[in-house]
């Protein structure tokens, strides 16, 4: 379909012996902000790396803008990646460069733009995330929330058609959380981009996204818009969204019966 920017079709993936994704199907419509949610280790970050072409699936296909990512050669993949932006979990800012140079990095690597034009663009991107005044700082001098915003400015440096977010809300204070949430929405709409947000932060992401895929143990177990998430009676969805300690995802790690464990010698 032409109006889906990203299509994941029957993808199965394993890290050597450890299977991570089982026959996953997904469609990310153009212009939307889509969340992929699930517990830690359910394979959502892996899915993001498959979309970015850093991993190749054992079975199935990943299409981005009609191109089959796993079958692209290095040059074609790099050409596609210039149209993608990715926000890494810990920001992944280049620590030997200033904030300004971090945002300018891709412009200098991939374009022949004159320096005054790069300056204007960098300052615009930094202004969009509210950090124009921090252009001279080094990544080590930034707070966690500021680093995340600089990384976001860097991710949108070349006006990507697709923005990938890996846990954008992890480890942020409440204000930074709200700021990042709002930026994901406004930048997506202002740039006319499409965004994929991998997260386990339900409350924050439900405020900004259009559509939700919920994953568990490598499978998609629920998909729908935000209203459908709230209306769902599925016990797993309810446990995940309401944050209940026990339910389909048990509180207890699997253990043998009490009697057996009491008879065991632990010395």
């Amino acid at each position: 379909m032409a109006d889906d920017l990203v299509v994941v079709r029957g993808v199965t993936f394993a890290y050597e012996e450890r299977p991570v994704l089982f026959d996953v199907d997904m469609a990310i419509p153009r212009g939307k902000v889509v969340a992929i949610m699930g517990l830690s280790g359910c394979g959502k970050t892996t899915l993001l790396r498959l979309i970015g072409g850093q991993l190749k699936p054992q079975r199935g296909d990943v299409l981005v803008d009609g191109l089959s990512v796993p079958s692209l050669g290095e040059e074609a993949l790099y050409r596609l990646r210039r149209r993608m932006g990715m926000l890494f979990q810990m920001g992944a800012l280049f620590t030997d460069l200033t904030v300004y140079e971090n945002v300018a990095f891709q412009m200098r690597e991939h374009t022949d733009l004159p320096e005054p034009l790069i300056r204007d663009l960098v300052l615009m991107k930094l202004h969009a995330v509210g950090l124009r005044g921090a252009w001279h700082l080094r990544p080590a001098e930034l707070s966690g929330g500021m680093a995340r915003r600089v990384a976001l400015a860097r991710a949108i440096a070349l006006d990507p058609m697709l923005i990938l977010y890996d846990e954008p809300f992890a480890g942020l204070d409440p204000i930074s959380l709200a700021v990042i949430g709002r930026l994901i929405r406004t930048l997506n709409d202002a740039l006319g981009a499409t965004s994929v947000v991998v997260t386990h932060d339900v409350q924050e992401s439900l405020k900004v996204v259009d559509y939700v895929y919920l994953m568990s143990e490598g499978r998609v177990i629920f998909s729908g818009d935000v209203a459908a998430v709230h209306a769902s009676r599925d016990p797993y969805v309810r446990q995940f969204v309401d944050g209940r300690p026990d339910g389909p995802v048990p509180f207890h790690y699997p253990a043998p019966p009490w009697q057996e464990m009491l008879d065991h010698d632990y010395a």
Partner: protein
């Protein structure tokens, strides 16, 4: 366990390290070729190399200068002490210069640079990997081997012979300092004996050729260990240690091989 199983197990335990070593060597060779293939980026953007040349070369100057001065001075003392017994203290300059340009200059500079700069290169690249900076670069369609690895590699390969040349000069000055002003060897004899005995092509240039190979070896070990470090704190620390240890062993081993190739004594053996 049957005897057969034991034998199979024993052969397996013996064979596994050999297979691992072969696989490791193959992977390293492939990585080396990919670094060479990515090196055109250094020609297109020499500023990347110049920057690293500053970190690897200029910032190693202090340790090279101080070490060279003391090595030269100690060498002067020791040589004088021995030679004076035979009344040959006039050739202190020659002995100091030959020892430095042939062996001590290239080997000690390489060892110092690998511990001062090689370890830093490994730690830096390893931490860039651990903090996803290399991954981020890949997602920005900038190949990390071309942007991060190749400039450091070539800067180091350039820096090692340059620093070795400086080591040689400062070391000889240290030897002179002890022999002439301190111990009273005649100034003119000191220099003329040295000039008579040291051959520019066979001693000085060969020494620098050695150091060029040492540079290739230690910088490759450094970038290879950093790029393939396990992306954790322990992983980076282990990789840094391995860089220093392996560089030292490779430099000393390579020194023997290169010296054997350059050795003139074989010619007389027919």
């Amino acid at each position: 366990m049957t005897t057969l199983e034991r034998v199979v197990g024993l052969v397996g335990r013996l064979g596994a390290p050999v297979v691992d070593a072969a696989v490791g060597l193959g992977a390293a060779t492939r990585f080396f070729l990919s670094v060479l293939a990515a090196s055109t980026s250094c020609l297109r953007r020499p500023r990347l190399v110049v920057r690293e040349l500053y970190f690897i070369g200029v910032l190693s100057l202090a340790i090279i200068l101080v070490s060279a001065l003391f090595v030269g001075m100690v060498l002067g003392l020791q040589m004088y002490d021995t030679l004076v017994r035979f009344g040959s203290e006039d050739i202190v300059g020659m002995v100091v210069a030959l020892a430095l340009v042939r062996e001590l200059g290239p080997v000690l500079s390489a060892l110092l640079i690998s511990s001062r700069a090689g370890s830093a290169v490994t730690a830096e690249i390893g931490l860039m990997k651990a903090t996803e900076q290399l991954s981020a670069m890949e997602m920005m369609a900038v190949p990390p081997v071309a942007r991060v690895v190749a400039p450091r590699f070539w800067a180091g390969v350039l820096a090692v012979p340059l620093l070795t040349a400086i080591f040689d000069v400062v070391g000889i000055f240290g030897g002179w300092l002890v022999a002439v002003p301190l111990l009273g060897v005649d100034d003119g004899t000191f220099w003329s004996q040295m000039r008579a005995a040291v051959d520019f092509r066979l001693d000085v240039v060969n020494g620098l050729i050695k150091s060029l190979w040492f540079g290739v070896a230690i910088l490759f070990i450094a970038v290879h260990q950093g790029f393939h470090a396990e992306p954790t704190a322990e992983g980076v620390s282990r990789a840094t240690t391995r860089t220093v240890v392996r560089s030292a062993l490779v430099v000393l081993g390579l020194d023997f091989v290169l010296t054997a190739f350059m050795f003139r004594g074989f010619e007389g053996m027919g």
